[in-house]
């Protein structure tokens, strides 16, 4: 078997094109000096003659560029097996090589980072490596952080905030939030939305100026002048409207989905804007329980240790220890705090 190399057909050109293969029928023996292909340079075409008698096997496809001096044809005394040829057929598609700046290479070595860890369509530069290192440290820090202190995540996130956000940042953020969600679940046996993982409930309450040890979900709307005492629980999806003023005492629980309004737009809407928005302060005492999805309307005053049932719409005042429920809401009894527990006495 003879390996046939690409000839130089014009001076100073290092590549030629395989313009045309002269297709020879299978099992046909070609003679010496028969045309077997046409090579093309930038300025001329060249009929390539077989240097010997035998069977021709092309290693490239028509249109491929061939480097001068490389093997592009085989001529054999016997027909060659297709399987044998498959491994020899050249793929002259350029292989992709990730480009890296020298500074980036230095940093990769310094931090002992595998280049394949950084994905980029372009040149990897020192900023990419530093961002990776920072991100790695960030993730490490989160793993090492006390899962009780979720505000740490917020602090680190702020530090890592960049002007431009790419998909890599978003993917990293998603990974970090997922991790935090898992830790939260381990700690509290609750799987909650990322917002409440990201922002610590107690820290939120502190930021709002609520009393000591109160907490509020990040999924709450707090509007206007809202004052809340200590040890209160404000659940997710709640609306605390202080536009007309809202005060809540100590140890009160506002369950998920409760809306407390100190304003309404009923008069304004019904009068076509003739009358203004109505405001009136809502005051809720200490040790109260407001059930899920209850609504408290403007101006309502609720005493201490009151119970409001789920889905109630409370439009009137309650004295201390009164229990109310329903829509329309009714007084259903009084709250009795005994030695063995709490009951509603009808």
């Amino acid at each position: 078997m003879k390996e046939i190399k690409v000839p130089s057909i014009t001076a100073n050109e290092d590549v030629v094109k395989l313009s045309e293969k002269i297709i020879i029928k299978k099992d046909t023996l070609i003679k010496k000096d028969e045309v077997i292909c046409i090579l093309e340079s930038s300025k001329t075409s060249f009929e390539f003659l077989s240097p010997d008698e035998g069977y021709v096997h092309y290693l490239y496809n028509e249109g491929d560029e061939l480097k001068i001096g490389e093997t592009f044809l085989l001529i054999s005394e016997k027909q060659l097996d297709d399987k044998f040829l498959t491994g020899l057929i050249k793929d002259n598609k350029p292989s992709y090589e990730q480009k890296i700046s020298k500074k980036a290479k230095f940093l990769l070595t310094k931090h002992n980072i595998d280049i394949n860890k950084i994905k980029k369509n372009g040149i990897i530069n020192s900023q990419d490596v530093l961002a990776y290192v920072e991100n790695k440290n960030f993730t490490k820090k989160i793993f090492q952080s006390n899962p009780e202190n979720y505000s740490d995540l917020e602090t680190v996130m702020k530090k890592n905030y960049k002007k431009t956000v790419d998909m890599k940042d978003i993917e990293n953020l998603k990974d970090q939030l997922s991790y935090s969600q898992k830790k939260y679940q381990e700690k509290w046996n609750r799987f909650i939305p990322p917002f409440d993982v990201l922002f610590d409930r107690w820290k939120n309450a502190e930021n709002y100026g609520f009393g000591n040890n109160s907490n509020i979900s990040s999924m709450s709307y707090v509007i206007g002048d809202v004052k809340i005492g200590k040890n209160c629980f404000i659940g997710p999806f709640t609306i605390l409207d202080g536009s007309g003023g809202l005060e809540i005492g100590d140890n009160t629980s506002v369950a998920a989905g409760v809306h407390i309004y100190s304003h309404d737009t009923i008069s304004r809407s019904l009068s076509g804007g003739k009358f203004p928005i109505s405001h009136s302060k809502v005051i809720i005492g200490s040790n109260c329980f407001i059930g899920p999805s209850a609504v408290v309307t403007l101006g309502v005053k609720i005493g201490n240790s009151c119970f409001i049932g789920a889905n109630s719409v409370l439009t009137f005042d309650l004295n201390d220890k009164q229990a109310a429920s329903g829509n329309p809401c009714e007084i259903i009894g009084t709250v009795e705090i005994g030695k063995n527990g709490v009951t509603i006495k009808k």
Binding site: N12, E13, S42, K43, S101, G122, I123, Q127
Partner: protein, 341 residues
Amino acid sequence: MKFLDRVNHGLDYFLSKDINNFIIGEDLLDPYGGAFKATKNLSKKYPSQIIGTPISESSFVGLAIGMTFSKNNVVVEIMFSDFLAIISDMLINTASKINLINNDLMQGKLFIRTPNGGRRGYGPIHSQSLEKIFFGFSEIKLISLNRAVDPYETYKKIFSDQYKSKINLILETKIDYPKKMITDQDFEKNGFKKNFIEIGLGITELYNQETKNDKSDFLFLCYGGMLEETLNAATKLFIEEELTSKILLPHQINPIEDQLINEIHSNKFDKLIVVEENTVDNSWGSLILSKLLKTQKNTNLSLDDIILLGSSTELISANIEKENNNLINSEKIFESLVNLK
């Protein structure tokens, strides 16, 4: 998608557009199809519209100018741009004056197209870039095609009825012919993004991914085949020193459009680098410089910030290695700039 195939496609479009469109020049007919095969298969397809000529550039450019008097549009292929010197009399003293002297005598348009530049080892009279002969003649529009923008699309614009210029000289870099077009993905692998500014025939803008809105270290200006050398140099400047670049690559190089100058002024950069295969004296760079000087009062651009790079004035050698010493290339561009910062 190879550059040459797209040029061929553009010429095919030209001939298909009107029976009064002609291509004339040496060795254009099949099977040869032109020295660089730009007209391959076209004489078979449009036998009456391709005219083979003897080796007499001045005469057949004169013929083409005459044909435009009868509303014919004519593409003339000049086999090597070195022969632009021969036709310069026809273009400068005849074509560019005749409409002014004889009340728009040229009813059709003239398109001279020619393979330009060196790097093939063709020696001193087949490797030059002589477009500088025509700089400053406002009636002669010089257009340089490049591998960042499909020449077929550019030719469609040039051959359209909306394109009004009567005398056009189109440079095709000869080493680009067998090469593939540079795709957006190719640019991205080198860390560059591409933007096409739709002004006239268009300006291609390439910028380091990191510098779209920020200041770049270098603003390069180049055309035609200099794209590859400039891009390689800019890529190396980033890899070696993380120096950032933006490249502006106009199609029209004469007359210089105000929009190109505005683009230069609107960019933030430390150094403006004009790169061309011409020799530097009396060059495109000096033309750019004179335009900038007229407008620099509006900017902080100083002469110290402008660098003109081009080829040596020595004879271009037929020896490929020596030719490499004569012509500007990416290594020389890199070496000229790397220590400036």
